[in-house]
C-alpha cells in the first residue's frame, strides 16, 4: 500500500488533487481511499489531504502518519515542524517551488521532485492553481502512476476550457519536474 500525504492551503486544490490521484489509481485497477482533514474550512488555512492506494481493499480510515510520499503545494508550509514527521524510509518528496530543492530535507527521503507548479499554472491556467501540475510531477517522480491515467480522469472533475488548460498543466508538470535521487 502507498500512503500519500498532500499539504496545502485552502483554495489551492489539495483536496481535489488527492481525489484525482485516487481516481487515476482506480483507472489502473487499484483500490483507493482519500480524504482531507482541516480545522477551518476557508481559503488560506492549512489543509492536509490523505490518499491511500493499494492492490487490495483499504480498510483503515485513519489519517496518514507514515507517508510514502508527501506533496507540498505551498512552499510556505516548509516551515511546518511536523511536515516530515513519520516519513517512511526511502520516501518521496514533491514540492511546488520556483527554486531548486533544498539539501536532502529529511533523512528518510530517497527521491525529491521540484517543479514551479505555480509558474506553470499561471501560464497555462491563468491562475495559481498548482494541483494538477503537481500530480503530473508526482507521476513522473514516483513512477507509481501513469500520466495517461491522470489525464483520463481529469474530465471527471473539470470541463471545457479549464479542463484543457489543466491537462496541459499536468503534462508540463510531468515533463518539467526536476527529480533528485538521494
Amino acid at each position: 500500500m502507498k500512503e500519500i500525504r498532500i499539504h496545502g492551503r485552502g483554495g489551492q486544490g489539495a483536496v481535489l488533487a488527492a481525489r484525482m490521484l485516487a481516481s487515476a489509481s482506480v483507472q489502473e485497477g487499484k483500490s483507493v481511499a482519500s480524504f482531507p482533514m482541516y480545522g477551518f474550512e476557508r481559503r488560506g488555512a492549512p489543509v492536509v489531504a490523505f490518499t491511500r492506494v493499494d492492490d487490495k481493499p483499504i480498510r483503515e480510515k485513519t489519517q496518514i502518519y507514515n507517508p510514502d510520499c508527501i506533496i507540498v503545494i505551498d512552499p510556505g508550509l516548509l516551515s511546518l515542524p511536523t511536515l516530515f514527521t513519520g516519513l517512511k524510509p526511502e520516501s518521496v518528496f514533491i514540492l511546488n517551488s520556483p527554486k531548486k530543492l533544498p539539501e536532502k530535507p529529511n533523512e528518510n527521503l530517497k527521491i525529491g521532485g521540484v517543479v514551479n507548479a505555480t509558474g506553470i499554472a499561471v501560464e497555462e491556467i491563468g491562475r495559481d492553481i498548482p494541483n494538477t501540475c503537481l500530480l503530473g510531477a508526482f507521476a513522473a517522480a514516483t513512477g507509481w502512476l501513469k500520466l495517461e491515467s491522470i489525464l483520463k480522469v481529469l474530465p471527471d472533475y473539470l470541463s471545457g476550457d479549464i479542463l484543457q488548460r489543466n491537462l496541459k498543466s499536468t503534462e508540463r508538470g510531468y515533463k518539467e519536474v526536476e527529480v533528485t535521487k538521494w
Binding site: 483536496v15 482506480v26 483507493v32 481511499a33 480510515k61 485513519t62
Partner: protein, 399 residues
C-alpha cells in the same frame, strides 16, 4: 446468485454516495438543509434535480426543523421521502424527529455524525446519534462509502415494510466518511426498482388523502397513548430480525452482505472481542489481523444496528468469550462508560461476569488510530487473563 447487473464505479465521497443512494430510491419529496459535514449531499441532490436526474419534489427549507416537518408531512401523505442532517441540525429538528417516529412515518434520513452543541464543535463524533437514541428511530451505523449506498436502499426496504413502519436514520462518520472518497459501485436504477418492488405489493399504508377526514398522531390520552407507544416498541423489536432478513435479500440480489444487526469478524475461535462501530471498524480489522499474527485470539464485532439494540445477536456472539472491549466514539452523560458499552452492560445476566472494558476515543475529529486499537486489544487480553483492568479509559486524555 447475484441478480443485479454490474453498476457503474465512481470515485466519490460519502456525502455524494448518500445523494446517489437517495436518487436510486426515487423519493417523492426531498427537503434537506446543508450543514457541515453534510452540505455536499444537499448540493449534490440539488444538482441532480437541476440536471433532471431526479424527479423528486425538492422543497427549499430555511432550517432542519422545517426539513423534518416537510418530509414527515409528505410521508404521512403516502410519499417516499429523504432528508439529511448532522449534529446541530439533528438537534434543531428534535421535536419533529419524535413526531416522525410517533406518527410511524417511514422517513429515511442520513446523519453525518458530528459532535453536538455544548462546546462548539465542527468535528467528527457520534454524539449527535447518541443524543437522539430515544427519539424512537431505527439507527444504523455504516463503515464505508459503499455501505452508505447499500444501507440507504436497505433503509427504505425496512422503513416502508408494513410490519415495521418506522423512520430509519443511516449514520456515517462526519469528516472520516463524509469526505472520504472511495470507489463506489452505483447500481442501475432499474435493479434498485426491482429490489424495492415488493414494497409496492403490500397493502397500501394509512395515509392522508384530500377529502378524507382523518387525523394522525391523535388520541394521546390514557390508553390511546399507551397503545400507540406499546405498538411502537413492539415494532422496534421486530426490526431486529427484519434487518437480518433484508441484509440477506440485499446480498443475494446485489452481491454484498453486511451481516445484518452486527457483523462478526474472526469471532468464532476468539478468546476476546473488540466491539466498534462506524469508520473505526475498518481500522480495527487491520489491527485484529495483526494481533492474530502475533498469536492473540481476538475477534471484532461491528455494531451496525444501534437502535434497537441487537441484544440477542450480541449475546450469541459473545458467549464464552473471556473479555470484551468496547470502543465508543461518544460519551454517555450520567454513566461513566461510553454509550454502547453502557447498553451492553445491561446484559450482565446473559453475559455473566465477563470483564467489559469501556474505551472512549475519536471525539472531535481526533483519530482512532491503529496504535490506539492495538492498545485496546492488549489491555482486553490482559483482563481476560484475570489481571486487574481499568473500567473506563478516555484514550485522548491519557495521551
Amino acid at each position: 446468485m447475484v441478480s443485479a447487473q454490474k453498476g457503474q464505479v465512481r470515485v466519490i465521497t460519502g456525502n455524494a454516495t448518500g445523494a446517489y443512494g437517495a436518487m436510486l430510491c426515487r423519493p417523492d419529496v426531498i427537503a434537506a438543509y446543508p450543514i457541515t459535514p453534510q452540505s455536499e449531499i444537499a448540493e449534490q441532490l440539488a444538482q441532480f434535480k437541476a440536471d433532471g436526474v431526479i424527479n423528486s419534489e425538492f422543497v427549499e427549507v430555511e432550517g432542519e426543523n422545517s426539513a423534518m416537518n416537510v418530509v414527515l408531512a409528505a410521508s404521512i401523505a403516502g410519499g417516499r421521502v429523504f432528508t439529511a442532517t448532522s449534529s446541530y441540525g439533528l438537534v434543531f429538528m428534535y421535536d419533529a424527529l419524535q413526531e416522525t417516529s410517533g406518527f410511524r412515518a417511514p422517513v429515511v434520513m442520513v446523519n453525518a455524525n458530528r459532535e453536538t452543541p455544548g462546546i462548539h464543535a465542527v468535528s467528527s463524533g457520534q454524539q449527535d446519534m447518541i443524543s437522539a437514541r430515544d427519539a424512537g428511530w431505527v439507527q444504523i451505523i455504516t463503515e464505508n462509502d459503499q455501505e452508505i449506498l447499500d444501507q440507504i436502499i436497505m433503509a427504505y426496504m425496512l422503513a416502508e415494510d408494513n410490519d415495521i413502519l418506522l423512520p430509519v436514520m443511516v449514520n456515517y462518520d462526519g469528516f472520516y466518511l463524509s469526505y472520504l472518497a472511495e470507489a463506489v459501485e452505483i447500481y442501475q436504477i432499474e435493479d434498485v426498482d426491482k429490489f424495492l418492488a415488493p414494497l409496492k405489493k403490500q397493502s397500501p399504508r394509512q395515509k392522508l388523502e384530500p377529502g378524507v377526514a382523518q387525523g394522525c398522531g391523535t388520541h394521546g390520552m390514557e390508553m390511546g397513548y399507551v397503545e400507540a407507544r406499546y405498538k411502537h416498541t413492539q415494532a422496534m423489536e421486530r426490526v431486529k430480525n427484519k434487518v437480518d432478513e433484508i441484509d440477506k435479500k440485499f446480498g443475494d440480489y446485489f452481491g454484498r452482505y453486511y451481516g445484518g444487526q452486527i457483523e462478526e469478524y474472526r469471532t468464532d475461535d476468539a478468546d476476546i472481542i473488540i466491539i466498534a462501530s462506524g469508520s473505526a471498524t475498518g481500522t480495527a480489522r487491520t489491527v485484529i489481523d495483526t494481533k492474530r499474527e502475533q498469536g492473540i485470539k481476538v475477534g471484532l464485532i461491528k455494531l451496525r444496528l444501534f437502535r434497537p439494540f441487537p441484544a440477542e445477536r450480541l449475546i450469541q456472539a459473545l458467549k464464552g468469550k473471556k473479555a470484551i472491549g468496547v470502543i465508543d466514539r461518544s460519551i454517555c452523560f450520567g454513566w461513566k462508560y461510553g454509550p454502547i458499552c453502557m447498553e451492553l452492560k445491561v446484559l450482565t445476566q446473559e453475559l455473566g461476569s465477563v470483564p467489559i472494558l469501556s474505551y472512549i476515543d475519536g471525539l472531535a475529529n481526533l483519530d482512532i488510530t491503529i496504535p490506539h486499537i492495538g492498545r485496546v486489544v492488549d489491555e482486553v487480553n490482559e483482563a481476560a487473563k484475570g489481571k486487574p483492568y481499568q473500567d473506563v479509559t478516555w484514550i485522548p486524555m491519557e495521551e
